[in-house]
Symmetry: C2
């Protein structure tokens, strides 16, 4: 299982769904991250929301929360030299502070 | 053009993309709404982000902003009686206050 992970960011693509969920869970548990950012572009945005929801509501219930969500756009030139715009999302998950 | 609109909420589905953008723009202009909520479930979440980005960055540039974004889950029983979970998003767009 190799998925892109950088400085607590997880980039959602077309690998098996549970790879991403496991990766989020491991960042918070094994790697003791206090914050994990789930990032995606284009059609993978829906999947980023799914991954976040499953992590927050099922696997790390009562242990992490959605801290903030940002959407944006990126422009790039495709192979035909045409300018393409793609939407992006960044979902910041945060460990709950112990009371 | 008939798309679902209720109390300033626009539900994103599989109608032509520009119908939704036009609907957002009309809510803010013709109908003078101060806030519009772009809602979607499942695979349409990516599209809701696209609609919001195009409205904010292109059609109503400098006139509206993303105020807040919420994600969630809904459970329902499918035709086979199986429990299904689907992610949801609500993107709140807000008119800029005049200075």
């Amino acid at each position: 299982m190799t998925i892109e992970v950088g400085d607590n960011s997880i980039f959602i693509g077309n690998k098996p769904f549970m790879n991403y969920v496991t990766s989020v869970v491991m960042q918070f548990t094994t790697k003791e991250a206090s914050e994990v950012i789930v990032k995606a572009r284009g059609k993978f945005i829906s999947r980023a929301v799914d991954v976040s929801e499953v992590a927050v509501k099922r696997f790390l219930q009562d242990r992490i929360d959605v801290k903030s969500i940002q959407i944006g756009s990126e422009g790039f030139e495709n192979d035909d030299g045409k300018n393409i715009r793609v939407s992006t999302i960044e979902i910041v998950l945060v460990k709950r502070t112990e009371i």
